[in-house]
Every structure is written in C-alpha cells, then in structure tokens.
C-alpha cells in the first residue's frame, strides 16, 4: 500500500500533464482514421479505453496534489504555439490547479462512463466509429478547455467543443431535425463567441498595453493572454482604471460582459438558451456528456476562471447574477410543461446552470462563498444530471420514445434504471443526504448572506419547481400505468455496459456531496467557512418536499387534476409550453430580418447594382461605338469637312496652349 502511495509522491503525473491531452487526441486520430472503417467494436473499445486511461491519469494527478499537499502554481506543462508578435503569443499548456483539477475530474469521469455506456447504447448503429471518434474529439477539446493556462487556449478549445457538439448533435445526419438542431447550436454559440472573441481582443489589447509598464510585478515568462497575468492584481488595477467609457460602462466591465456573453452562449443562459433543448436531437449519451455534465458548464468555468476580474467589476457580476437567476426560474417553469423527457432534463440543466451562475454573481455582495458553492454544484450536478440523462437514455433505448406520457410502469421492468434514476432525482431535488442537497444549500446560503434576498427567494422557488418537475417525470415514467403494452417486446434492462455506468454514477451522485471541495476551491478561504445558517437548508428541503408532494398529487393519481389545472391556466400554460415563443422570435429575426432584409438585398445589390455597373460600363462602351459609327456617313465631302475642321480645332488647341 505504501508502495502504491509512493508512486504519487514524485510528481510524475503533474510533470507529464500533457498526457491528459495527448491520449484523447491520439485516440481520436487513431479511431477516426484507422479504426473507423475497420471495426466498429474496436473503435468503441479503444475510445473507451483511452478515456479510461486518461481518467486514471487525472486521478493520479489529484492523488499527487492531495498527497503532496501542494498544488503547483502556473502551468504544469507548456509549449509555445502561435507567436503573434513580440510579447504577444499563445501557448498550449496544461494548467494544474484546484479549479482545473475539479473540472478534469468531472470531464474524464463522466466521459469515460459515457463512453462505456455508448458501447451498449450505440450497438448496431452504422456510424459507431465516427461516433466514438467525435466523442474522443469532444473529450480532448473539453480537457483542453479546462486545463488552459491562457484565455486564447480556452477560446481555441471553446470552439473545438462547439464543433464536436455540432458534429455529435448532427450525428444522425439524415434526420432533418438533428441537422437543424446542430446548426442552431453551432450558430447560436458562435454568435456568443463573437462577444467572447472581442472580449479577448480587448483583454489582450490592454494586457499588451500594460505588459511592459507593469514591470516586475508580473513574471517575465507570461504573455498578455495568460490567466496568471490577467488575474494578477497589478493588471486588474491597471485595467480597472482605464477611463474609456462606452454606453456608460467602463471598458473593464464591458469587456467582462463580452466575455460573459461567450459564457452565456456555451452555458445556454437566457437569451441564448434556445439551442440547448433542440440539441437533444443528438444521441442520448451525447446529451449526457456534452449537454448536461461538461460542455454547458464551460461558461460557469470561464467566469470562475476569470473570477478575480469579475469580482472587481460589480456591474459584470451583477449581470451574471441577473442572467443566472432569471434563467434559473425561466427554465424551471418551462421544465414543468415539457413532455419530452430529454427536453425536461435539458431545461432542468438550464435551470441548474442558472443556479451556478447566480451563485457566482451574488459574490458582488462581498462574500465569495458563492464561488465555491457554484463549483461545488457544478461538480455534483455533473454526476446526477449525467445519470439522469443516461437513465433517460436507457428508457428511450428500451421504449423508443421520448414522450413521458407514453412511458410508465417501468419500476418492474427496469429496476436498475429506476433505482439510479430515483437517486439522481432525489439528488437534484436537494433531498439530504444526496449530493445535490449540499451544493444547493451552499448556493442558497451564499445568496442569503450576500443579502440578495430576491435571488434567494427565487432560488427557493426554483428548488421547489425542480423537485416538482423531476418527480413529475419520475412518476410518469416509472409509476403511472404502462402505455407500452402494445409493443412487440417488453422493455428491459440493457447489457452491463449500460447499467454499470448508471450504477457508478448513482454512487457518485449519492456521495459526491461529501467531498470536501471547499478545502481546495475557494476565493477567500475565511469566508467559506465562516457562515452556517440553520434555516437555509431547512427551507430548501421543505420546498423540495412540497414540490415532491405536488408532483405526487398530480401525476400518480387521477389525471383529472392535472387537466383541470392546465385548463384553468390554459393561456399561461400555452405560453410556457411554447417556451415563451423565444424560438419563434429568433426564427423571425433570422429568417425575416437577416435573410430577407440583409442577405437578400446584398445579393440583389451585388447582381443588379455592382455587377450592373460593370455591365453598364460595357453597355455604354458598345452604345457609344454604335452611335459613333454613324459619323461614317459615306459622303466624301463630309469627310473633307471633318479633315478641314479637325485641322482648325487643332489650330485652336495649339494656339491656346
């Protein structure tokens, strides 16, 4: 045992941190180019194996950090990659610090389990090789994102996860909805990335400006894009005092807001949330990995990564809080009305990420407990939400439908799925001692102690709503009477490759709340441990219980109650069910405004006016020639007149010059 522990005391894992990126990448290339055409089975196997190895490696790093009681500062491994200019270059590297370790742990663990799950879930599909290659690509990109030591690397991998998400959502490329959803996802996030990109410009710009001026407070080895530099007090001080104002905002806040725009896009915050529900067109394991556990929390990660900057700007952080709170409530409301199990989960994801966001946002009140709380929730959420999705995937796999009203009665048929789903549901509802309880409690607490009472109340309300819609799904799926009796074959548990991940995740979802995250991840250590209020968790649990009871009332007994309520609030129900018509608004903007009023006129203008101008010039030339040819009258005396008068004009020209 001691020998085993000794392995982790040399710092080998940290030193070779590049391994974390290299393995998934090589596996992607290998699976994509070599294995894909050869063997479906081998593709899945190798892909899963490589991610598992990566996962173990990450655990190794964590163990090292844990055992050595020391977290390396700065990037563990770094290579120069792109040199823009002297003093302005981008590196590729692996940053090992508590935050990145947390994310690495989440990403690799969930990814490995999802890979394993996919072997069973995707069996029999035509393009399994492609699927696993993309999944590897995603894992690689996501890891690259979370280990990025500089903002440019984040952006690079940010885009790459976007593209892998695009590829995976559109995996069933013959399904028009999937194609549309993948396009939508990519374009919406791309639009958000525009803000992020501009934010990077501005950060880089001021970073570059101050780089030489700040002198010895900044280590020489850094470049203006490095987080170590951007979050250094010297730079923040410099940037904060930049007096340039736009729209009444200082350029500092504006930049952070632009960066937050990118985060909003990726994390599907209102109003850029529209892509996430549609993204459920992808294979369910993909939804579990990308659209629940990892990629969508990248926005939270980004804000957390740049937290020192955000803390310095109450405006930006206030916006984070507002957006987070609103999305949280908004998505939860919609979640109550959806019939597609994956969509319910998608809106639940939105709502939960809203929690994480506002937890970060409330920190402008002065207490930074929210930082820890947010990341804690990120951690626990990853497991229970992945579990929910994988469970949903199991059900869909068995029933071939997404509609919760067409399910029911699965308790007996799929006991493992039921059990794990229940664990996850309890966890997300915040029922102790499941993981969600702890993290949600901390978020509520952070809102309360920062005196953000409105946010606190909304958060409580949403906790109730969460409990309601999750149990709604739970009851409808497992307990209501079965509607699938007409099916040819009875639903049953799938192979072990699918149930094993469920079980493992269920364990994690249950116990991850006990992880002493706060010990490692904090912004100000003292603030993390100072407050403990008794009534906050009590309220939380009570509200959750209320939601649970309401769901039980509605969905286990007579359907009349539900119908009655729905009829009573028909108008509101309709609006919520249609997701507040946000999609329609977007559609109108893109189809009508952008396509009709910009793209079409531009195309028309180009063909008619610009090109017409060119053709006009040609036409004028021809017409002139056509007119001039009639000078040639054929009359010899006219020619003589031309000759003589030409001479006279010539004389005039010569005499006047």
């Amino acid at each position: 045992m001691q020998n085993f522990i000794n392995i982790f005391t040399h710092g080998i894992f940290i030193k070779h941190a590049w391994f974390v990126l290299a393995v998934p990448f090589l596996s992607f290339v290998f699976v994509g180019l070599v294995l894909r055409p050869l063997s479906k089975k081998a593709s899945g196997l190798i892909a899963t194996l490589s991610i598992s190895v990566t996962t173990l490696f990450v655990y190794g790093i964590i163990a090292e950090c844990f055992l050595m009681h020391r977290v390396p500062s700065g990037a563990a491994w770094q290579v120069p990659w792109l040199r823009y200019q002297d003093g302005l270059s981008a590196t590729l590297g692996v940053l090992v610090d508590p935050l990145s370790l947390l994310l690495m742990c989440v990403v690799t663990t969930v990814s490995a389990l999802v890979h394993l799950y996919s072997i069973g879930y995707m069996r029999g599909d035509e393009g399994v090789g492609r699927y696993f290659a993309f999944l590897n690509l995603f894992t690689f990109s996501m890891l690259g994102l979370v280990v990025a030591p500089n903002i440019l690397q984040i952006f690079i991998f940010w885009e790459l996860v976007g593209v892998s998400s695009f590829l995976l959502i559109g995996y069933y490329y013959e399904k028009p909805q999937a194609v549309a959803a993948s396009k939508k996802a990519f374009i919406v996030t791309r639009f958000a990335d525009l803000g992020f990109f501009i934010g990077i410009f501005i950060l880089g710009y001021y970073g570059f400006q101050s780089f030489s001026r700040l002198g010895p407070t900044v280590p020489q080895a850094l470049s203006p894009f490095d987080f170590a530099y951007l979050t250094s007090p010297a730079f923040i001080e410099f940037f904060k005092h930049e007096t340039y104002m736009i729209f009444g905002l200082s350029i500092f806040s504006l930049t952070l807001i632009l960066v937050f725009m990118g985060a909003c896009g990726k994390s599907a915050m209102f109003p850029l949330h529209i892509w996430l529900p549609d993204a459920m067109e992808g294979p369910t394991p993909v939804s579990a990995l990308i659209h629940a556990a990892t990629m969508v929390v990248a926005g939270v990660y980004l804000v957390a990564r740049m937290f020192p900057l955000f803390v310095a700007s109450p405006e930006a952080l206030g916006l984070v809080q507002c957006v987070g709170t609103f999305t949280c409530l908004f998505a939860a409301t919609i979640g109550c009305t959806q019939d597609d199990i994956k969509r319910v989960l998608a809106f639940s994801t939105l709502s939960q990420i809203g929690y994480m966001m506002f937890a970060l946002g409330v920190c402008h009140g002065g207490n930074t407990l929210g930082y820890t709380a947010s990341l804690f929730h990120l951690f626990t959420h990853a497991f229970f939400k992945a579990l929910l999705f994988l469970g949903a995937g199991s059900i869909i796999h068995a029933l071939h439908t997404n509609n919760v009203w067409e399910m029911g009665g699965l308790v007996k048929a799929m006991p493992i799925t039921h059990l794990t789903f229940l664990v996850a549901t309890l966890s997300i509802s915040g029922i102790p001692p499941f993981s969600g309880f702890f993290s949600k409690d901390e978020i509520l607490l952070s809102a309360f102690i920062n005196h953000q009472y409105l946010t606190f109340v909304i958060a409580l309300l949403v906790a109730g709503l969460t409990s309601f819609y999750m149990f709604r799904v739970y009851f409808l799926t497992f307990w209501s009477e079965a509607k699938w009796h007409g099916h040819v074959h009875k639903p049953q548990e799938a192979s072990w490759t699918m149930t094993l991940p469920l079980l493992l995740l269920a364990v994690l979802a249950a116990i991850s709340g006990f992880t002493p995250i706060a010990k490692w991840i904090f912004y100000t250590k003292s603030q993390v441990e100072s407050h403990r209020l008794f009534f906050v968790p009590v309220f939380g649990v009570l509200v959750a219980a209320f939601g649970f009871l309401l769901a039980m009332l509605f969905y286990t007994g007579d359907r009349k109650i539900v119908d009655h309520v729905v009829l009573k609030f028909a108008w509101m129900y309709g609006v919520i069910k249609h997701k507040f018509y946000i999609d329609e608004v977007y559609l109108w903007i893109t189809k009508k405004v952008i396509f009709r009023f910009i793209a079409f006129p531009v195309a028309w203008f180009d063909r008619r006016i610009v090109d017409g101008g060119v053709n006009l010039a040609a036409w004028v030339t021809r017409k002139t020639g056509w007119l001039l040819r009639f000078l040639q009258t054929g009359q010899v005396q006219t020619y003589g007149i031309w000759l003589v008068s030409g001479g006279l004009v010539m004389l005039l020209v010569l005499l006047t010059l």
Binding site: Q632, Q635, V636
Partner: protein, 112 residues
Amino acid sequence: MLASIFNSPYFYPSIYHWLVLSSALFSIGIYGFLTRKNAVGILISLELCLNSGALNFVVFDYFRGNHIDGKIMALFIIAVAAAEVVIAMAIFVGMFKHKKTIDVTEMNQMRN
C-alpha cells in the same frame, strides 16, 4: 507717265498681293471641294488648291532670294498633280462604269 506707272513700286505686285491671290485660290479650291457634287469638279477644285501651293513656292522663291529651288518645286508639283489627275480620272471612269454617274453624293455604298 506710263513709264512712271510701270516703274512705281505700287504697280508691281508685292509678295502680299501674291499671297492674297494664292490664299484666295486655296480657299476657292476648298470651297469647291466641299460644295461640288461632280467628282471632276472636285478634282478641279483640288487642282486649285495644289496650284495655290505651287504659286506660294514660286512667290516665296522670288521674294526671298531667288534661289531656284522653289521654282523647281513648282515644276514637280505640276508633274505630280498631273499624275494625280490621271489616276483620279481613271478611277472616275471605272466608277462611272458601275454607277453611270460621277456624283459623289451617290457614292455612299459603304458607310457606318
């Protein structure tokens, strides 16, 4: 009396008289060229123009030192003009065969 008239410098035409004459010739020639419809008429007008040139040479030769070269030039001009007329007439005849007229305003088969 008569002798004095003959001897008077005003009796002998000066260079200006000659130049006026040649200018008149030239102008008449051009006018004729532009207005006559008959090709031969045009040719005659052109001969006037040529002759005005020849006259100029002779006059300048006479008034500016009497080197022989201007006069020789005049001779050549006459010869060349004769050649020109021959050729032109030949072409006119050829033209007449086709058109049965030598009205130049009719000769606009090629135009535009």
